[in-house]
């Protein structure tokens, strides 16, 4: 009990502890899917450490580190098989766990209605993943017309500009 008291703040609810465990475990699991391939030692060390830091401060920017490391390692290996879909689900699960934790301190009871709401949103967010997976596996980029790349780049640039504008005006107000 004393050990638990040192690891988590007094009054931290059991659901909050479970969510923190998910924040740590899911990125590690996403990396473990690569077995028998063993990632670089830097990735092996950094992912659990950064995930632990993320679990401690779920609303901190450190949360991007385990996501980028895992996604980057899988991207670097260019394996587009079924495991990529599972990795997408695991990373999204870690992100949603952190989002649920970031609504308040660990002593804040996790609202079941909020959990159900975010589960529905997670299902919605996962819709593009299999579509993208099928696309990258089934469509040959060489056959695509040239305007498609131009349109994609333009749309991406427009989204970036809109995001930047919204973020800037929001922070200034």
């Amino acid at each position: 009990m004393a050990t638990t008291g040192r690891l988590v703040a007094p009054g931290t609810t059991r659901p909050a502890i479970a969510l923190r465990a998910l924040v740590i475990a899911l990125p590690c699991l996403a990396l473990a899917l690569a077995i028998p391939q063993v990632p670089h030692w830097f990735v092996l060390v950094s992912v659990p450490l950064s995930a632990a830091a993320w679990a401690r401060t779920p609303d901190h920017a450190v949360g991007i580190v385990p996501l980028v490391l895992v996604a980057g390692w899988w991207a670097a290996h260019g394996v587009v098989d079924w495991r990529v879909l599972v990795v997408a689900v695991l990373l999204l699960g870690a992100h949603l766990s952190a989002v649920l934790l970031s609504y308040g301190p660990g002593t804040l009871p996790v609202d079941p209605r909020l959990v159900r709401l975010w589960l529905r949103r997670a299902l919605l967010a996962l819709v593009p993943a299999p579509v993208a997976w099928l696309s990258v596996r089934g469509i040959d980029p060489a056959l695509a017309p040239s305007w498609l790349w131009l349109a994609a780049a333009s749309a991406t640039a427009a989204l970036l500009l809109a995001t930047a504008r919204l973020t800037r005006s929001g922070s200034s107000s």
Binding site: P10, G11, D59, L67, A71, G72, W74, A75, H77, G78, V79, V80, V84, L85, V87, A88, L91, L92, H95, V99, S102, Y103, G104, P105, T107, L108, P109, D111, R113, L114, L117, R121, A122, L124, A125, L126, V127, P128, A129, V131, A132, W133, V136, A152, A153, T156, L159, L160, A162, T163, L166, G170, S173
Partner: protein
């Protein structure tokens, strides 16, 4: 996702696609207005153990999906939910926090942090610090009742029976008619039966002046609030509150003297407003190390007043002042409020603290014994019925014939 497209990393596109949806939805749910948040307590006047609800008021909830609020911890203040954290979606009712002060005195409640989150958790407003509000928590209204009359009621209002005959309503007896008797006092059934005029006599309705003298010079023991152990000052204040409420409700006039560094004196009075004044004074009692006990207690009380001295009797000057008051002819009752503060605990009996505690106890017992020898009753506070026997004995003593030199 953009990186995946730009860099041509197919896996990155697949992995980032769900996050792109979340980001887009979060951005789309951007609030357009800044909310105004404040919190209100349902009550501003509480007794210890009672509770009040803090309700959030948000002027503009457009774009807000979730509200979380966390009350900052305050000594002797319990919250529900535990640890003071509450949150909910705003489509139902806004989250509330219940504050319950567990000890009398000045308490600060309501300090909290509030955070508002937009839909899809894209935007967070706050956390905003809401200020605390301090108010005096009144002592617990401990159940106390006494059927004993105060020894020497003095005055013309109140419930206690007087030894004098008068124009009250309480039946005293029947006697033959005498010159000067009111005709409406004639009892016709008895007069017809006996053939002589008889009248009913009644007792005068009198009230009692009750003084409460509180020892605010020190506080021994650890206070665990209303749910835990009581310190000597806890017992003193709660006993005084119970006595004041009992006597005011029975129509007596009650005054109070707090013996402390900044001693407070509340003159005799009666009624509900006076009871509030007494309880407010009790809630402001403080102990200070530089407090000095007076040599004599100047109450300005008449001979008919009853004086309750509520004290653990650790200070010799206060004992002397009590004895002086007793010699002055008043009905003085010492209510011992030591409680369990000097309960011996298991441990080394030769330890310095243990030795000091036992020496203090021996001195205290000696003081109380001397007071008892002077005729001052000393009773430990036990709640309801604590004073019944003592007051009845004092009343009998008051009725006994006295020889004056």
């Amino acid at each position: 996702m953009t990186g995946g497209v730009v860099l041509g990393q197919e896996v990155l596109v697949v992995l980032a696609a769900p996050f792109a949806v979340l980001a887009a939805m979060g951005l789309a749910a951007r609030p357009r207005t800044a909310p105004l948040v404040s919190a209100q307590l349902d009550h501003v006047r509480l007794h210890e153990g009672q509770a009040t609800t803090s309700r959030l008021e948000v002027a503009d909830l457009d774009g807000v999906e979730h509200i979380a609020r966390v009350a900052l911890p305050a000594p002797h203040v319990a919250t529900r939910p535990a640890y003071g954290a509450a949150g909910s979606l705003v489509d139902e009712e806004l989250p509330t926090i219940v504050f319950s002060p567990r000890r009398w005195g000045r308490r600060a409640v309501g300090a909290e942090r509030v955070a508002l989150t937009s839909a899809w958790a894209g935007w967070v407003w706050g956390p905003l610090d809401l200020p605390e509000r301090g108010f005096n928590v009144l002592p617990q209204t401990a159940p106390y009742d006494s059927r004993a009359e105060v020894p020497q009621p003095d005055g013309l209002v109140g419930r206690h029976r007087s030894r004098r005959l008068g124009s009250g309503t309480e039946f005293e007896g029947i006697r033959p008619f005498a010159t000067g008797d009111r005709l409406k006092r004639i009892t016709w059934p008895v007069s017809l039966r006996t053939g002589e005029l008889h009248v009913i006599t009644t007792r005068a309705e009198q009230d009692a002046g009750v003084w409460l003298v509180l020892d605010g010079l020190g506080d021994m023991g650890v206070s665990g609030g209303i749910d835990g152990a009581a310190s000597t000052l806890d017992l003193t204040v709660r006993a005084a509150s119970a006595l004041a409420e009992h006597h005011v409700r029975t129509g007596d006039r009650v005054g109070m003297l707090v013996v402390s560094a900044d001693g407070t004196r509340v003159p005799l009075g009666s009624g509900a407003r006076h009871l509030q004044r007494l309880q407010g004074t009790l809630a402001r009692v403080r102990t200070e190390a530089r407090g000095v006990a007076p040599d004599r207690l100047d109450l300005g009380a008449g001979a008919g007043s009853v004086v309750y001295v509520l004290s653990p009797m650790f200070f010799t000057p206060l004992v002397t002042a009590t004895a002086t008051l007793q010699r002055g002819g008043g009905s003085v009752v010492v209510i011992d409020t030591i409680g369990d503060a000097m309960t011996t605990r298991d441990g080394d009996r030769l330890e310095l603290a243990s030795l000091a505690s036992r020496m203090q106890k021996v001195e205290r017992d000696d003081r109380l014994q001397r007071l008892a020898e002077l005729g001052t009753p000393v009773v430990p506070w036990r709640g309801p019925g604590t004073l019944d026997t003592v007051l009845q004995q004092l009343a009998r003593r008051g009725r006994a014939p006295k020889v004056r030199a």
